[in-house]
Symmetry: C2
Subunit: 326 residues, 2 copies
């Protein structure tokens, strides 16, 4: 059934029936505003996904799109060491959209949200020429927030998981390439996970001096940490964690995509050298690789990448900016 046959309000009523009641919510979907009591510090973040810019409908199911719309926002909460609590959704939807597709989107979103204790409390829907999915997430940080601005000269630099897979996946989707390695990296682009458990543990154990999620490419996001913390950084390219699929597709020595590719949603953090053992223990218990990839240096030394011979390595491409021309 097309959305224009059902109508906006019947669809929204059907949605309200599908969202489980939540004792934390004084007033949820269905009034002018949601109403909540939010004790302690509240985290807030918003991010959008736009058809033709962030995704193409032929690449993904609507359910996966819903999961990703949640994950990219949850990743910002994870990067502060927090836990997501409540979500608002603002959708622009083409009039010809199938109700079943929109149902699948909502179900994917709500399932991903519920899996980490997050309730959908509000939103709105309007017509648009392409699908436009804007999410606002609220969160809490019971162990305090980790900002971008606390990195100290001498700190180690760590990153979770592997880097460059999502950007490689996007490239292979665009090139319509297939095979097991291609499948693996495409999945990283289409259905990323937010590193919520690791981020929370980093906060609970007070390991990090600064943290950010790698959404615009390692060098660009590390650049934000350097700028906010007034420090420089050295990244050792041979230490970068590359997945089996990445190595199979690009080889062992091509670090460009790992350094500059966006949308990995891994966590990058700085930590004092005396926490090396504790970070190792967290990687073991957290079930997720955490790799030491470099260190924080004085601001005057800037941000640099060292190749295998110790010489400066300059990637061909500097990271993603939605607007700046290459």
């Amino acid at each position: 059934m097309k959305l224009h046959d059902l109508g906006e309000f019947p669809f929204l009523r059907s949605l309200r029936d599908r969202v489980p009641a939540d004792p934390r919510v004084f007033l949820g979907l269905g009034d002018d505003c949601a109403v909540l009591s939010l004790p302690g510090m509240t985290l807030l973040t918003t991010d959008a996904m736009i058809e033709g810019v962030h995704f193409r409908r032929e690449w993904t199911s609507f359910s996966t799109l819903g999961e990703k719309a949640f994950a990219v926002n949850a990743s910002d909460i994870a990067a502060m060491g927090g836990e997501p609590t409540f979500a608002l959704l603002s959708l622009g939807v083409p009039q010809q959209c199938e109700v079943e597709d929109l149902d699948a989107f909502f179900n994917g979103f709500v399932r991903a949200a519920e899996a980490c204790g997050t309730a959908l409390i509000g939103g709105n829907m309007s017509a648009a020429s392409c699908l436009m999915l804007s999410v606002t997430l609220l969160g809490q940080a019971p162990h305090g927030v980790i900002t971008r601005s606390g990195a100290q000269v001498g700190d180690d630099l760590y990153v979770t998981g592997t880097l460059g897979d999502a950007a490689l996946g996007l490239r292979l989707l665009q090139e319509e390439r297939d095979g097991p390695a291609a499948q693996a990296v495409k999945a990283r682009f289409l259905c990323p996970s937010a590193r919520l458990a690791i981020g929370r543990e980093v906060a609970a154990r007070h390991l990090a001096t600064a943290m950010i999620d790698v959404s615009d490419g390692l060098l660009q996001d590390l650049g934000h940490v350097c700028e906010e913390s007034h420090v420089g950084a050295v990244v050792e390219a041979p230490r970068l964690p590359l997945s089996v699929a990445y190595r199979a597709l690009l080889g062992e020595q091509d670090w460009s995509v790992a350094l500059t590719g966006g949308e990995d949603y891994e966590l990058l953090f700085s930590a004092a050298v005396e926490h090396r053992t504790a970070v190792g223990a967290l990687a073991q218990s957290g079930g997720c690789a955490i790799t030491r990839i470099g260190r924080i240096v004085p601001q005057a030394e800037g941000l640099s990448v060292r190749g295998p011979d110790g010489a400066t390595y300059t990637p061909a491409y500097a990271g993603y900016d939605h607007f700046r021309q290459a």
Copy 2:
């Protein structure tokens, strides 16, 4: 200068410098999340404006667009009797966009926000094929929230200001018509005001049993109140408040646009009959007309409109739904 010449991050830094510091904000623009302490009950609402659906660039300045993007969300806060406190902005921007235009948009938004004590605390910006402006507002309701669900049989029905002007303004913009009356109604569409002061007073004086803002047309929004409150309603068409411009353009007897036109952002509320004097006093002190337009009846009687002879009046058109075909 085009945005793609300046780049996303330099633009965002320039924005951060323009947003005044706010002692209520623990962490504002420039990290993965904003961080706030939010005592009491927090209101949350989100709404989007999309180029080609909600506005055309040739109709409006970017500064006015910024003011409207704030006002349409503030109206949802007003409709609960609340005050807006914090804002997040999620923008989709075409790459060819002029930096000056985007500056003007932000300045308009921030100026409108500051004028009612609201701080911009976060946001994001990404490329898009058309301008897409999604706002999330937080608010507080020191006197308690007014929902849609409390209307009682026998209550009076009131509306602030005048109805139908914005929809008429949109029509005249589309038809490229001009003249003093056309100018007046176009301004109501392009630059609406949220009825924050009246909404807050209605809450402070405990006048209303239910309240909503008229954004999708009086009949549709009154229908939401009836549904949530399990009541019906009678609207007396001759009592509907029509502006001088509306009467000049459509005459005294054409209530269709006032009954069904969207985007007026006036407040509609139900109140017990014994509050008639108090509502009149509020209209005097608040400097804004408040008109009694009908009453709440039992649910079985449904929602009806009475013409001047007391007979049922049926408008040609039932109100705005973004998706449903006429």
